[in-house]
Assembly symmetry: none
Homo-oligomer: 209 residues x 4
DNA sequence: CATGAATGAGTGTTCATTCAT
DNA sequence: TATGAATGAACACTCATTCAT
């Protein structure tokens, strides 16, 4: 429902949830667009959702629990869409470029979630035990696989540890997107992707030197 | 109050304030280094400062009031130091380079304040009526003056509105510093200044094309 | 329902109840061994029993209702066992001695129930309308009958009101058991029974003086 | 104010406390006479005391904190009175007899506190870190000193460890008082003291055998 | 200048209970 | 017989703020 990617791939997950569950999640999302997580109260969420406070607690064990559920679902949607749009792409660097575009585009379209993901959540140690972090790890793992694959087939140089490459890649994307996310400014995903990839890929290619 | 800029010397502003006033401000600063503003409580500040809660309230009408007082003072110190270190520099671009370095260095040294300034405070509309914003405006005005001066003496091209130039200049600095500030990473001020100025100044010079 | 007292055999009462009913009661019992009644919640009971919360509510109108149902059943078991083990005993004092032993032994084996019975439940006026209290009354009545019988056949002096005798008898037992029950200490039933009976029976016998 | 002992010895401790502090303590005490601690709520205490809920929290950090403050003060009063009434008594056994009487009399007069002390509080592990427990320990220590003194001057046999003696002494008192405390029955302090001391002291005397 | 006492309005969370299916 | 969804009212605890002194 909250599908955001260009080319479909359905998920009907939402239909399995009771009405209250959905309404609460939607309420949180709409509130996050207006104010930051910490200043959103149980009462506000309940009122916005039109349900009882206790119900929220029953579905999501705590306020952070609710946040992470929403975040997790959002990330899972992202990952599904990413998988789907990676189909048919050949070459590790091409895949990475697609990923870069995909992520930048997401950051650009979803400032609210991105802000939470980029700032709010990282300071909380509970984050690293959350489902949210599981999704992030899956995403991270996927990138590493692609890099490994590129190294194996000779597309990417093998003298830099794959994890470093990943870190630089993700760091570059983040670096480019952070200001627009934080200051709610628009960003041209195509141009930004170009910038990131042009700079990095030359240095990554096997015959780079 | 106006510090004698000639001979540096730490400002004596503080001596005009009652003991409690100073202790409270110092308490907030030390707390900000440990936890974020929203989760700092009146009681904590009072306890850290060793004064009565009611006293804080008497001096600073609200928590945000206290924050802005501290921020304002901090910015004023920054501006004073900037004025001082701008002395004897000739050329608008040279001055701008100095400003860039000075600001980047500050962001780099003071993550706590920078984070508040860069993120926390801007979302609050009260900010734009605050003394903090006055300081920011003064700083902003100063840059505009330098740009105007550069245009007038032919150092800077005159076909771009000065305010645009200022916006790009400050945006570039911010852009470079934001990730380090947010993720508490170190940044090399010299290199960062070079990056910013190299990219911008070529495009700004009158005979640029 | 009325158990065939001849051949002991565990009561079949349970089979008349639906599965959920039994599971709930068992859940409460197992929880009572771990924590005190007031801090046990509906949800906990339901989860432990593996049934829906609403179901518990349907069977037992309130938490206290459930408690009393369990207590009642427990006491009925006690009474049945007592009846059975009283068979074949001749003499009122001998019967009373048996009762003393039986009750002390129970207190000693079942601290959880005993504590509830001895402390928790008595402060609640609803107790006196409960099925639990019915059982207690039946037990109490049975003792009175034995005392009456003893007076009639000349075994017990007739110058003390039978109800006083009963009160003293039960009070003595309680007095002896209370500390062990409350502080979860072990008690030797044989010795305790001796103490109680030695002291009381000399004073009770017709030719006592 | 809450002085309870026969012969004075003043404590004006209460006058040092603000009105709210006193009112809250008194409110808790009066509520404890009606219902058990767990079912007393913040709101009830506040309402009974006629003060704001937050004030209670400010003075006593938690509900248990409040309970222990009250209990502690009550015990300190007891200890003060005990010290005072022990003056001029010669002989260890005479002192112990006085202590027995004093404690039994207290249990008898203050069922509410006694019940809490004897039952409620011991199940809570926090109790052993509380000020309440400090007082209990002081009392306990005092008894040990008297026993030691008795052993040294030959009044008490030296073949039983003093700590055992203390344990038996306190256990006997507790055993005698527990039922009356729990069932809110009256107890004759003089007779109870006689019972306890008659039984124990014969066995304790040096030339006992 | 500084403080202790006091408060109103929330905070997230938990509970026993009800109802439609 | 059994359940999932939903709720009202309360829970202990916290907060920024005010006032008399």
């Amino acid at each position: 429902m909250a599908r955001t990617v260009e080319d479909v791939a359905p998920n009907d997950r939402s239909t399995h949830y009771p009405a209250g569950h959905i309404k609460v999640r939607e309420a949180l999302i709409s509130l996050l667009k207006v104010k930051d997580f910490n200043s959103i109260t149980w009462a506000e969420i309940a009122q916005t959702a039109g349900v009882n406070e206790a119900l929220i607690y029953k579905y999501f064990r705590s306020k952070r629990g609710l946040l992470h559920t929403v975040l997790h679902e959002y990330l899972e949607d992202f990952l599904e869409g990413l998988d789907y749009s990676l189909k048919g792409i050949k070459g590790s660097l091409n895949k990475l470029r697609k990923i870069a575009w995909y992520q930048i585009d997401l950051y650009n379209r979803e400032h609210v979630f991105s802000k939470i993901l980029l700032i709010e959540v990282r300071n909380n140690k509970a984050y690293f035990q959350s489902k949210t972090y599981d999704s992030v790890r899956r995403f991270s793992r996927r990138i590493l696989d692609i890099i490994d694959e590129g190294i194996q087939n000779g597309e990417i140089r093998d003298d830099i540890p794959p994890k470093h490459i990943r870190q630089i890649f993700l760091g570059a994307i983040e670096h480019v997107c952070l200001p627009s996310v934080i200051y709610d400014r628009d960003l041209a995903p195509d141009a930004a992707t170009e910038s990131v990839c042009n700079i990095l890929f030359d240095g990554l290619r096997k015959n780079a030197d």
